[in-house]
């Protein structure tokens, strides 16, 4: 089963906390010597996954193998890997030297050998003169170095790092990133790194695993993930991006922003709705409009240090973000060009809300545990149906009580001319809404539907 040079292989890992699925069928192969980053927003399950690998949590289902051997049932102290914890977790009652020597002393390694290894580690993390210091007297960065040395002194084959740099300030974090990268290169062991910082992930990793809501969204090299995100979540999470609705007219021809563009993608079919991702730095912006593919009016322009970040209202009625080294005056008309290679096309994850429902009266249908009035359908009570509602037809009520179904705004994606919003309900599925109104994440809203907009489709039962 395990591949040639794979060191850790994770199969069908599932974990549920109090009814909430934290990890949903995770499958992952980690190669020997690789720097793998588990990346995702808070609550995506990345830390839980790391803790399962470390042996601090037991999965509900699935196995973690190391060198082909099943690790299930092995306590953390029996696993040949070490963890660097988020808030260092140094032992406050021991000095720097004793902290690093802790693991070796437990293994009853001769004192001379312990001394040699601890000093080597101290040198490696540039903390040579600090051995007698109290750990509480060290700065955050120094504590982190000690924590790393304390783990590495045991010569683990795999080092797990749980957001190790999260508590450091920006400058320190950048320096430590480089040092970690260097350390990884010199040691040649496998690093599994957890972070929510996409920039950190892009800087450090050989492979990035993007997680969201307990599922792996994409696995790839930093360049793959950045240039070819597989879905709008990844595109939105990694770097800045314009995510737009478009139509694939035919192979290598796509329409969005009200214009047709040449692209390099094939195999989507003809006249298929797609999502288009354009990175803001990939839009060429200029004063001349005659040779431009499309034009627009600069709405705002902010200096960001290296580049200017501009929001431009396009002639097709969209708002897009553009980054350029030159500033363009607010209110001026500009021309823009997008090259075929810079257009990333993704299959739409969904085209309308689609639920399983049950008929509960001649003029209503039950979905997600609530009864919605709809057009007369002439179906018997209890009939299983598929119910479809277009994104734009979902109506929001500001008070949860005013809606037929209550929900919470969970995820907001700007798509150039409207917001695509995920509303989490208590039921097993989410509602998706297209709107021009500004909603905030965490808003509690009620959902109503116009009976005219509900499509009820009977499901044929094979008996």
């Amino acid at each position: 089963m395990s591949k040639e040079n794979s060191i850790i292989s994770i199969e069908h890992l599932t974990k549920t906390y109090g009814g909430k699925v934290v990890l949903n069928d995770i499958n992952l192969e980690i190669k020997k010597g690789e720097f793998v980053t588990l990346l995702g927003p808070s609550g995506c399950g990345k830390t839980t996954l790391l803790r399962i690998i470390g042996g601090f949590r037991t999965p509900d289902d699935g196995v973690v193998r190391m060198d082909g051997k099943d690790l299930s049932g092995k306590a953390p102290n029996e696993r040949p890997l070490n963890t660097v914890f988020q808030r260092y977790a140094l032992f406050p009652h021991l000095d720097v030297y004793e902290n690093i020597a802790f693991g070796l002393k437990l293994k009853h390694i001769p004192t001379a050998e312990i001394d040699r290894r601890v000093r080597k580690m101290l040198k490696m993390v540039s903390m040579t003169d600090y051995e007698d210091r109290d750990v509480d007297s060290l700065s955050g960065g120094q504590q982190q170095r000690v924590a790393i040395a304390r783990s590495l002194v045991n010569y683990p084959e795999v080092l797990l790092l749980d957001e190790p740099l999260a508590a450091l300030d920006l400058k320190m974090r950048k320096d430590m990133q480089l040092e970690l990268k260097e350390l990884h290169k010199n040691l040649g062991i496998t690093f599994i790194y957890v972070t929510h910082d996409q920039e950190e992930a892009l800087t450090l990793s050989d492979t990035i695993v993007v997680l969201n809501e307990g599922r792996i969204q994409q696995i790839g090299t930093p360049a793959d993930i950045y240039n070819e995100p597989v879905n709008s979540f990844v595109a939105d999470f990694i770097g800045e991006s314009n995510i737009l609705c478009g139509t694939m007219i035919e192979d290598c021809k796509v329409s969005f922003l009200g214009h047709e563009f040449e692209c390099v993608d094939k195999g989507f079919g003809n006249n298929v709705p797609v999502d288009v991702v354009i990175r803001p730095e990939d839009i060429y912006i200029m004063k001349q409009t005659d040779h431009a593919q499309f034009t627009g009016t600069v709405k705002s322009c902010i200096f960001k240090g290296v580049h200017y970040e501009m929001f431009v209202d396009t002639d097709g009625g969209n708002e897009i973000m553009v980054q350029d080294y030159n500033a363009f005056e607010v209110g001026s008309t500009v021309g823009m060009i997008i090259k075929p290679f810079d257009i990333q096309i993704m299959k739409k994850e969904r085209v309308c809300n689609s639920f399983e429902g049950v008929i509960d009266s001649p003029e209503s249908v039950e979905i997600l545990g609530a009864s919605f009035p709809c057009k007369a359908h002439g179906l018997e009570n209890g009939t299983s149906v598929k119910v479809e509602i277009d994104f734009k037809d979902v109506e929001r009520q500001d008070n949860q009580e005013d809606g037929i179904l209550a929900g919470e705004v969970h995820f907001i994606l700007y798509k150039g001319d409207h917001y695509h919003i995920t509303v989490r309900t208590d039921g097993p599925a989410d509602f998706f809404v297209d709107t021009n109104d500004v909603w905030d994440k965490g808003d509690l809203v009620g959902i109503t539907l116009n009976p005219e907009n509900i499509r009820v489709i009977p499901v044929r039962r094979d008996e």
Binding site: F56, P76, N77, F85, A89, F102, G103, R150, S151
Partner: protein, 269 residues
């Protein structure tokens, strides 16, 4: 004017609180057999006290009572320190609801009137045929001291980085090694404070001891003084003794206070 009044008020309260103690302390330095009669400064009562302590030993004497008190206090404080620490770790790892419930249950014995605790323990010991005397009194003291140890260990657990225990496991420690090498050293200051607190609680307890000592003639200091006072006035030599006990308790309380302040200061840095 208003400020002066507030100041006076505070001093008045303090005076009322400490007057009885000062009364005993002051009159321990005079020879008069009658309490409240000042016949000039003298340390004769102290001399008599120490003379008696050395001369009169054996059951029923003051010396025996002091030894009993110290032995019971040491055993009870040690046992409740272990029990309290283990319970604190267990309760700390419960979920929030159970944790609150357990802490509530822990606090009830502390506010429960001593007389009631004493009588109920007395009945329980009879029911269970627990040997009267040392055993019953020590067990009773362990049960009244443990909640205090738990309360002084708990804050240390909250201050501790919960990952340190996991870090120890990660570095190859077995759960019991992690407990001894990582948890206990971090909890030690709380355990020592708890021990001192339990020790003083045990020394100054009267009601619970009185009910649980049984009829075998076991006396601790508090019951000895009580019996002596009932026999027809307090023996004058007990005045210096009480002064000394007060001084001891005061010193221990100051030690606890300094320790707490120091650990609070470390927290701040």
């Amino acid at each position: 004017m208003k400020k002066l009044f507030a100041q006076l008020y505070v001093w008045l309260i303090l005076l009322l609180l400490y007057a009885p103690i000062f009364f005993i302390v002051i009159f321990s330095f005079t020879e008069s057999r009658v309490l409240g009669n000042w016949t000039g400064f003298s340390t004769e009562l102290y001399g008599n006290l120490f003379h008696n302590l050395i001369q009169q030993t054996g059951t029923g004497t003051l010396t025996a009572a002091i030894w009993n008190t110290l032995i019971i206090a040491l055993v009870a404080a040690s046992a409740s320190t272990i029990l309290g620490t283990v319970s604190a770790i267990g309760i700390f790892n419960m979920n929030a609801r159970r944790k609150n419930a357990m802490m509530f249950l822990n606090n009830i014995p502390m506010i429960n009137p001593d007389v009631i605790t004493g009588v109920s323990l007395f009945l329980l010991f009879i029911f269970l045929h627990v040997a009267q005397g040392y055993t019953s009194v020590t067990l009773a003291h362990i049960s009244i001291c443990t909640p205090y140890v738990l309360l002084s260990v708990m804050p240390r657990l909250y201050q501790m980085n919960p990952n340190t225990y996991e870090a120890a496991l990660d570095l190859g420690a077995t759960p019991s090694q992690a407990l001894w090498k990582v948890m206990i050293p971090q909890l030690r200051p709380g355990m020592i404070s708890g021990f001192i607190l339990a020790f003083t609680m045990s020394i100054d307890d009267f009601a619970v001891t009185f009910f649980t000592r049984g009829t075998v003639g076991l006396d601790t200091l508090s019951t000895y003084i009580y019996t002596d006072a009932r026999k027809g006035g307090l023996t004058p030599e007990l005045r210096p003794l009480m002064t000394l006990i007060f001084a001891t308790v005061l010193v221990l309380l100051i030690v606890i206070n300094i320790r707490q302040r120091r650990s609070a200061a470390i927290q701040k840095n």
